[in-house]
């Protein structure tokens, strides 16, 4: 039995890293479903795909680059540039399809340029694509400093159409599990990429260039393969994938901003590694990209459903998983090596230790997650019953700007709204010229009477900070799990201005936080909930 099994494994060894990822992600999902009833909902499963089509596309492109033994750090820059450029062009009233075509061409041109630098001028891939990333991200801010909203009908249609899953939904009532057309696009890309990688000359050349841990380029050249052309094409292909991912991201969030997708390239590279592709090149499967993305998604979902662990645990878990997979790859490499030449016992022992260490780490991670879940049954009960993953985390409430406007119409001179944070609050305060301060957080009200002079000092102070000048401008970035989003409106001496910001970043003007702390000094506090 054991022999049969090991023979089977030896025969299909090349699929092992990929299948380990697949099994691990499925197992993690099942554990989650056992612990949190909410995860048994079919929609949560489909959300794994619905929330990350851009990640999947980027991972596919990156897999090709890594298979040749290169690397592309420019992904995040090109994605951000695509969102901003598309949003800016759509704002000018361009045709949506034309814009998409242009963006894809731009991405390909970007990739081809970097590929040419790498291939013909022999610049290190790391350096060339890094410079590319900076250029792309910098260009975003030549186009626009602020986020640009997209209201194009084609974009809305693509982003908001719900494709119901047969078997999990009711076609009559249009209720049930669904995915978006973007997921279909991502899967089409996956299918095409798999075909290209394994059934075309181009694909075989890629494997030939990256073979032997990336040292095979010379042999490929001597075999008469078009090495230079293929390398440029691979970077062009990844530029295309990045641009497509950017288009899909801009559809998904229906806006464009230069700060989108920060650090995205590292998520992508980690997903490629977890998908079973060797970073040295030449080994791996494009199809593994799907599992790399899946395991990232499952990790996030588990952490969201747990509710106790903050979102930054995702980073730690992904880091540990990467370590685990690299350990596994290294182990497999030795096994393969042993078939050719028996490694010294010392080497074998070290590898074995590594694998056991890696598996131990993996087990510990899963164990920690389960333990964290079990230690807090109350929280789980509350979270687990929620129907979708999204409602399990603190969602940024749609801002109550209308409420704020209503309060201003009533005569308030300052409204202050903050929502989010670790306790997921949504508070709105209004200060009236007569010193009355009221606050609501949806359920409760507080009130406080300050002096007229206090209000005057506060407003004058805010004015003197430069509130009504260009020093204060709107900023927004994806909030961290613990961050607050602020909306502050001030009316003073006939001027009115609303400025929004999210803390936890460096984009908002520094004086904004001084204004926030001034206001915090005046407003009443909600009583602590037990």
């Amino acid at each position: 039995m054991m022999q049969k099994m090991s023979a089977f494994i030896a025969k299909n060894q090349r699929f092992l890293p990929m299948s380990v990822t697949a099994i691990l992600s499925i197992a993690a999902y099942l554990v989650g479903a056992l612990l949190y009833p909410g995860m048994r909902d079919a929609q949560v499963f489909f959300n794994l795909f619905r929330t990350s089509p851009f990640l999947l596309i980027s991972v596919i492109g990156m897999t090709f680059v890594i298979l040749t033994g290169g690397i592309d750090l420019s992904v995040s820059g090109v994605v951000a540039l695509t969102t901003v450029a598309a949003a800016a062009l759509l704002r000018e009233g361009w045709n949506a399809w034309l814009v998409m075509l242009l963006m894809l061409l731009m991405g390909m041109a970007f990739g081809a340029t970097m590929g040419a630098f790498i291939t013909y001028l022999k610049v290190q891939p790391f350096i060339a694509t890094l410079a590319g990333m900076w250029v792309a991200r910098g260009l975003c801010f030549f186009i626009s400093d602020d986020a640009i909203a997209i209201n194009n009908p084609v974009y809305c249609l693509l982003g908001q159409t719900m494709l119901l899953i047969p078997g999990f939904s009711d076609p009559k009532t249009q209720q049930g599990a669904f995915i978006s057309p973007l997921v279909i696009i991502a899967f089409v890309v996956l299918a095409v990429a798999t075909y290209v990688a394994h059934y075309t000359r181009f694909g075989r050349t890629i494997y030939a260039i990256g073979g032997n841990e990336g040292r095979n380029e010379q042999s490929a050249r001597l075999m008469g393969l078009p090495v230079d052309r293929t390398k440029v094409l691979v970077y062009t292909l990844n530029g295309f994938c990045s641009a497509l991912a950017g288009i899909i991201l801009s559809i998904y969030v229906s806006s464009g901003h230069g700060l989108y997708a920060r650090g995205f390239e590292m998520t992508v590279i980690a997903a490629v590694v977890m998908g079973g592709t060797m970073l040295t090149g030449g080994q791996g499967y494009v199809f593994g990209a799907l599992f790399g993305v899946l395991i990232t998604g499952v990790t996030q979902t588990l952490i969201q459903f747990n509710g106790q662990l903050s979102s930054w645990w995702t980073n730690i878990v992904v880091g540990l998983l990467t370590l685990f997979f690299i350990g596994a790859q290294s182990f497999l490499a030795t096994r393969k090596g042993r078939q050719v030449e028996a490694g010294s016992p010392e080497v074998q022992r070290r590898r074995r230790m590594l694998v056991w260490g890696g598996s131990a780490v993996g087990v510990i991670v899963v164990g920690a997650l389960i333990l964290g879940a079990l230690l807090n049954p109350k929280e789980n009960g509350a979270v687990g019953t929620t129907p979708t993953a999204e409602s399990a985390v603190c969602q940024f409430q749609p801002t109550s700007d209308e409420d704020a406007d209503a309060l201003i119409a009533e005569g308030a001179v300052l409204t202050y709204e903050r929502n989010g944070g670790p306790d997921c609050i949504d508070e709105l305060f209004a200060i009236y010229p007569d010193g009355r301060i009221i606050g609501v957080d949806g359920a409760r009200n507080v009130e406080k009477q300050a002096t007229v002079a206090d209000v005057e000092t506060l407003l004058a102070g805010i004015r003197d900070q430069g509130w009504f000048t260009d020093e204060f401008y709107n900023t927004w970035h994806t909030p961290c799990g613990q961050c607050f989003e602020y909306h502050i409106t001030v009316i003073y001496e006939g001027e009115e201005k609303r400025v929004t910001a999210v803390d936890g970043g460096t984009d908002a003007p520094a004086a904004y936080w001084q204004v926030v702390s001034r206001i915090n000094g005046v407003i009443p506090k909600f009583p602590e909930t037990p």
Binding site: Q124, F126, A136, L259
Partner: protein
Amino acid sequence: MKPKIAFNWKKMIEHKLFFPFVALAIILLFDLIFIPGFFRLQTKEGHLYGNLVDILRNGSTVMLLALGMTLVIATGGVDLSVGAVMAIAASVAAILMNPVIIGMKLPPDLMKFINDPNFTYAPLWQVITVTLIVATFCGMWNGLLVAYVKIQPMVATLILMIAGRGIAQLITNGVRIQIFYEPYAFLGSGWLILPFSLYIVALVFLLASLLTRKTAIGLFIESVGVNARSSFFSGIDEKKIKLLAYTFCGFCAGVAGLVASSNIRTSDANNIGLNYELDAILAVVIGGTLMAGGRFSLLASLIGALVMQATTTSMYAFGVPANAVLAIKGVVVILVILLYSEQVRSFIRRFTAPKEARS
């Protein structure tokens, strides 16, 4: 007479510091022409201020990172985790000064206490020592993975790069801790005629120079970078050398984390040192150290870091918006790298060589 001049020319071009200096000179020349008053220096309260001082001051973090990175790159590796290690160092330092903030709801009267510029939980020397030890351990972890477990450097350090920021937030429980303790803030934002951080850079540079040039370690590092296997056969313990390089890099990242966090007076695990690993690597590459390993020059790396910072500062002075500066930095990097490429070098050589060839 003439051949002698040509010879000097050649020697100068072949010198390690030539290209970094040329790059720096070109940028400063641009400033001289296009930005009036860029070179103006003034003294306020006995301290020196001006754009040139700003370049040195803001560049000190990258200079520190570049020192450690030079040794790592010289062994043929790379360390992507320095930015994350900076974040970890900043979190450790902040938590040592302000431990009450973790996970506890502070009673309101304590807020006053925390805002007190003389309040710290652990004394300054402890804060610095513990932070540097933690950072050094981070470097050692990378070194162990690279040297003993034999994982590719880029992948091995990628692990800490991804997990590091999470760990930093784990330490501070996701809170951005403000730093009010004045003596600590002096590290990054104090002045002793020149910015204090420059003295720190000088100290670390001195340490690294002594380590590499007054002992055989520098030679060993270069030997490992050129060919690890033959170094091993000639009796150099390449594993220990690699471990040392990564450990030192972690130490430098820790110092950089101290300087950066004291400069902005907060432990911002999300943003401290973000993308600094890339700046540091480019500084080293501009300094002429090959990514494949081998010969290195610490001074050239420092100048490389200054090239990066001078570009940024000049663009700010020129009025380019902060975020858009990245694009220009990217273009400068490409130009500098092209300057180094074999094609351009052979062109320059052809330009200067003929006379000698004839004689």
